[in-house]
């Protein structure tokens, strides 16, 4: 995960708290989502997610940090399918970080639930605890076929036996902050955009700082169409979905 190696003392440095702490969140407009899966593929390409191969995928070992959940309602001929893209929801009260025995997954101060691959012992407790099944395991040493092998140098390749998941493309945040520091200016939240949000052809996904009341994400998050998945569990996920409008005609 780039430069991030785990919870650090400096993350809790009180002087740092005085600077504006961002709270990264995502809004997905289900009325605009077509289920094209461009986000799934963009995520795989961006994050060096290995190809598990057909055999392994049939056994249920495919790693998809961004996954489309399909819900079909009604019966033929009046069927409607709902596509719900599900990245890691980066909960504010994550059930997965509570149960990790070795501090290999933790919530950083900017709201991103991070994964420390080098410390994970592969006990898969976080996988059992996540109610969204958003965590994936490297069951074998999966590889990318040679013809497709164009690794993104910003993202570490995971060994076998560790858990991984969507990171809101945290490496892009690190890169944007480094660039701002290099150009000796303030880091602007618009510079940080995950691969899935960037790739969506119908622009159904929005990303930004939920704390910044002027950002589009913060405004949409308060929309009356907004809902969160499994909200009653109290995990406080930071991916807000905008439900379909009246024209969508769900039974």
């Amino acid at each position: 995960m780039g430069n991030d190696t785990g919870p650090h003392k400096k993350d809790l440095d009180p002087s740092q708290k005085k600077r504006t702490m961002h709270l990264w969140g995502m809004v997905i407009d289900l009325d605009k989502c077509t289920g094209c899966q461009a986000c799934v593929i963009a995520c795989k390409a961006e994050n060096n997610i290995p190809f598990v191969g057909q055999g392994q995928a049939e056994k249920g070992r495919d790693i998809k940090w961004m996954e489309i959940i399909t819900e079909t309602h009604g019966e033929y001929p009046k069927m409607k399918t709902r596509f719900i893209p599900r990245p890691c929801l980066h909960c504010d009260d994550p059930p997965c970080t509570k149960v990790c025995p070795v501090h290999a997954t933790y919530r950083n101060p900017e709201g991103i639930v991070a994964q420390v691959y080098s410390r994970c012992i592969g006990c898969r407790f976080c996988m059992a605890a996540c109610p969204y099944t958003a965590k994936y395991f490297n069951w074998n040493h999966f590889k990318i076929p040679k013809v497709m092998r164009r690794y993104n140098p910003d993202v570490s390749v995971r060994p076998k036996g560790v858990v991984e998941k969507c990171t809101f493309c945290h490496h892009r945040l690190m890169k944007a902050k480094d660039r701002a520091a290099y150009e000796v200016r303030e880091f602007r939240p618009e510079e940080y955009i995950p691969a899935c949000v960037e790739s969506c052809p119908s622009q159904a996904m929005y990303f930004g700082d939920l704390k910044d009341s002027k950002s589009e994400v913060a405004k949409l998050a308060g929309s009356p169409r907004g809902f969160r998945l499994l909200e009653d569990l109290g995990t406080k996920p930071k991916v807000i979905y905008l439900s379909e409008g009246e024209k969508h005609d769900l039974p």
């Binding site: 392994q56 056994k59 249920g60 070992r61 495919d62 996954e67 959940i69 599900r86 059930p95 509570k98 149960v99 990790c100 025995p101 070795v102 501090h103 290999a104 410390r119 994970c120 012992i121 592969g122 006990c123 898969r124 407790f125 996988m127 059992a128 605890a129 109610p131 969204y132 099944t133 994936y136 395991f137 490297n138 069951w139 074998n140 040493h141 060994p159 076998k160 036996g161 560790v162 858990v163 998945l229 499994l230 569990l233 995990t235």
Partner: protein, 444 residues
Amino acid sequence: MTSREPDPAERHHILLNPILLTGKRFYITVGVLLVFVIWGAYAYSLQWRYGLGVTGLNQPVSWGFYITNFVFFIGISHAGTLISAILRISQAEWRRPITRMAEVITVMVLFIGAANILVDLGRPDRMLNILWYGRYQSPLLWDVTSINAYLTASVLYLYIPMIPDIAILRDRIRGMWHWFYRVLALGWTGTPKQQQVLNRAIAIMAVLVIPIAISVHTVVSFVFSMTLQPMWHSTIFGPYFVVGAIFSGIAALLISMALLRKLYRLENYLLPIHFNYLGMLLLIMSLLWFYFTFAEYLTGFYGNEPEEMKVFWAKFSGEYALYFWTMVICNFVIPVIVLCRRKTHTILRVVIASATVIIGMWLERFIIIVPTLVNPRLEVSSAVYIPTWIEWGELAGSFALFILLYVLFTKFFPIISIWEIEEGEQVGLKEVEKRIRSYMPQNI
């Protein structure tokens, strides 16, 4: 304990025979067990090399046989505590030939339970991370601490009452092993002061071991109940698992009693009355287990929460129905039918009931773990869990290793406590008479 006519070691020479003589049957048994242990070891070597992908685990069924085995074997460890500690505290005289067998089960099976967790890790080479970076907020760390405390307490609780018997071996065996027993005997000569120290220490340990044992299986259950998954997040899990553990522990103890009775010719020590009484305890635990299970499932069914009901129906009539109903039959129907009339408690019947309980309790752990994982809240595709020969090999290897360690123990130490039997014959009768007299009306 010292020179009384006749010498206790002579009277109970049959208990020392396994240590002094080794027959062909022993080597055959060890050979057969080693075959299974090697199967398990080979299976694990493949897993070490290629990763957990060689098992049948997948997304979302990320826990399967290994965690089932872990919970199951840790559960069996409650055999020792119940029999040794509770029966000692309640001064039940019939415990005397059984206590050491039970305590050995506890010690050996804890190693197997811990081994299963290590086998389940994706990165076992990093297992020391639990020491360097542990988080006490995680139930797995509670497991580590609790099981360590239990292992320490159980080893002590096995060793301390064994000291006089080790002294008997020290006095009988010459050669290299003499030194081994001499070191462990701690200079036991049977003086009254030593006996007093021993009795006091055993009494303290008996009281101490019980809460530690209860905490062990409670924290094992917390691994599941502290998550938010349907049919796991239940407050009944702590007591439910403890009851299940004691239940499976008694069954394991009964089977080992029956086998040892046959193989080491202990018919004069392990009498039908012992099987009878333990059979009653097995029946009681079966009824208790059924009560907890019934309460758990009725609550889920009545609440009718959609995600819980998906798991419920998967167990009741879905793809796991066969295992669920087999479990109920093995854990409740068969033991109650076989054991409900005390007069018909033959040794064979009690052992049959125990064997079905062992199968049923293993299935119970499996039924708790896998159907919940197969039916996640956000279902993407239908999940299936088919264990591979690697996982079967590891299960077989676990059982075989446990039995092997047990058999090896019987080669070095007497499996029935000689001095406690002597104490029962000489002192126990009078004490019991005095005790019963004290219950009767006084001064009338």
